[in-house]
Amino acid sequence: MKSSVWPTIRAILITAVLMFCALEAMPLPTLKKRHLNRKVAKEETAQWVGLLGKVGIQTDEDELIGFVMKMSKASGKARFQVIKPWRKFERHLSLGQHWGLFTYADPYAGRLVVEGSRGGNAWETLYSAPHDDGSELSELLHYRRVRAVWDDAGDRPHPGKFYNRWVTWLAGWIFEHNPELNVVRVRFDQVHIQPPNQRSKKSRIKPEKPMHVRERRREDYP
């Protein structure tokens, strides 16, 4: 009995699991307004409007965003309803099927810069991404679990909820390893990555725009 029924049950279970996984991984847009506020999203929207116009679909940026948001909401809701029981199981074990790997290449990336000062206005650069001088600090910042906390902050208009606490911890680490420093400053310089064939002379000398600047002072640490 066991030998004839079990393979069928197992095949059904495996098929069901794979279907849930495939459905969860389906490339349905799950966009939010804040995603479309990014510079790269605005540029791509304008390009899509142009491309659609070339194939006879006349629209403008607001209309296109409205349509995408509407579709995104509807498809996200439908998917959520279908995979709801599966998600309950997945959530407990932090499993998932979201494989958006470099979905879009963001040309407005952030360069992490960490500086220290003994006081006054003289700052020395302790780290500037992606520089790897083999120091303990760069090793620490490059470790993937640490980088995961900071790398997203550099690409966003708002750095996220962990950023301030991360800066506080990082500054504490730097003060401990550099007794001569009294102030630590962390920031992201927004770089504009342009392929060589799109670069003008003007853009080559464009200064990097500082973002999310935070300072920590030694006296604030116990």
Binding site: P7, R10, A11, I14, T15, V17, L18, C21, A22, A25, P27, E44, Q47, L51, H92, L93, S94, L95, G96, Q97, H98, W99, G100, L101, F102, T103, Y104, A105, D106, P107, A109, G110, R111, A129, P130, E139, L140, H142, Y143, R144, R145, V146, R147, A148, V149, W150, D151, D152, G154, G160, F162, R165, W169, W173, V191, I193, P195, P196, N197, Q198
Partner: protein, 312 residues
């Protein structure tokens, strides 16, 4: 058709492919987790904010598993990392393999719940896969379990269900096709300028190569972008090629073409090259290593044994 489907999932084969995946995953994970200790990051990453951590477990709607069972203090952070590390070691050695695999998944999920951003796609993927391996017979060879059971490191040569290997392959198909179809940025697509890889390689968070070198070899990055995009979109054809290898005696023009041209091995080889490329030219941590650890699933255990020159 239903009968053939059931038969497919009921096949049996030698355990070498799955055992190799188990060991490779453990090596990758153990190395990664050891960095937490070596860089003195246990408390910064996994303690609560009042104990010097970056995350705030007390502010979460649902507390991470271990913080529900143990007090919110620095020792629990050490326990969290220690449990993940210890279970990964046991899983790799194949001691109480199934139990240690499940414990690893729970411990790794606990780390993800403490500090979400530090948990990336590769962590999720490996948790998915360790669950599958825990349900498999990957411990029947190259494990302490096999040694204790059969007095031989190489096990007793018994066959195990093949479905877990097929599930690993299916997971990789889902991952690659999903990743390909989600690459909607114009710089990835034919309507764009194929500059995606150039932009990604110059992102200061991941960059390894100098800007000058990338400028000089811009065309290579464009070829890389195009190849990545085509390769990921070709996943459905790879699924069919995988099926065709199994049914090579059946008729069909495309089947014989794919088999004659050895499309399957070529597709796998290109995938491996991409991951080796990201390993060399990008700072992605354990991502390429974690993906490559799953590649033995693409090969029948007999191919692996032939490659390793093992006798039955």
């Amino acid at each position: 058709m239903m009968r053939r489907w059931v038969q497919r999932w009921d096949r049996r084969e030698a355990p070498h492919s799955l055992a190799m995946i188990r060991i490779l995953i453990a090596v990758v994970v153990v190395y990664d987790l050891s960095q937490i200790y070596l860089l003195d990051l246990v408390e910064p990453l996994y303690a609560s904010v009042q104990d010097g951590g970056i995350g705030n477990v007390l502010a979460k709607k649902q507390m991470p598993m271990l913080y529900r069972w143990f007090p919110v203090e620095a020792e629990t952070a050490w326990l969290s990392v220690g449990l993940a590390f210890g279970s990964a070691v046991l899983f790799g050695l194949g001691l109480l393999t199934r139990v240690s695999g499940i414990v690893f998944v729970i411990a790794s999920a606990n780390l993800a719940q403490i500090l979400g951003p530090s948990d990336r796609a590769v962590d999720i993927l490996l948790r998915n896969m360790v669950i599958v391996l825990s349900l498999s017979g990957s411990h029947r060879v190259w494990s302490i379990d096999a040694l204790l059971r059969t007095r031989r490191w190489a096990g007793d040569g018994s066959l195990i269900p093949a479905w877990p290997r097929f599930v690993v392959v299916a997971q990789l198909f889902i991952l690659y096709f999903s990743a390909g179809t989600q690459k909607v940025g114009l710089s990835w697509m034919p309507m764009g300028d194929w500059s995606a890889l150039y932009i990604v390689l110059r992102d200061p968070a991941f960059s390894v190569l100098s800007d000058g070198a990338l400028d000089r070899f811009y065309w290579v990055t464009q070829v890389g972008t195009l190849s990545t995009w085509i390769w990921e979109w070709m996943t459905p054809l790879a699924v069919y090629a995988w099926w065709c290898r199994d049914t090579r005696t059946s008729r069909g023009w495309l089947r014989s073409k794919l088999n004659a041209k050895n499309f399957w091995h070529r597709w796998v080889f290109v995938g491996m090259s991409f991951h080796i490329g990201t390993m060399l030219f990008m700072r992605l941590g354990m991502f390429p290593f974690g993906l490559l650890a799953l590649y033995p699933a693409f090969f029948h255990p007999d191919e692996i044994r032939r490659f390793l020159r093992l006798r039955n």
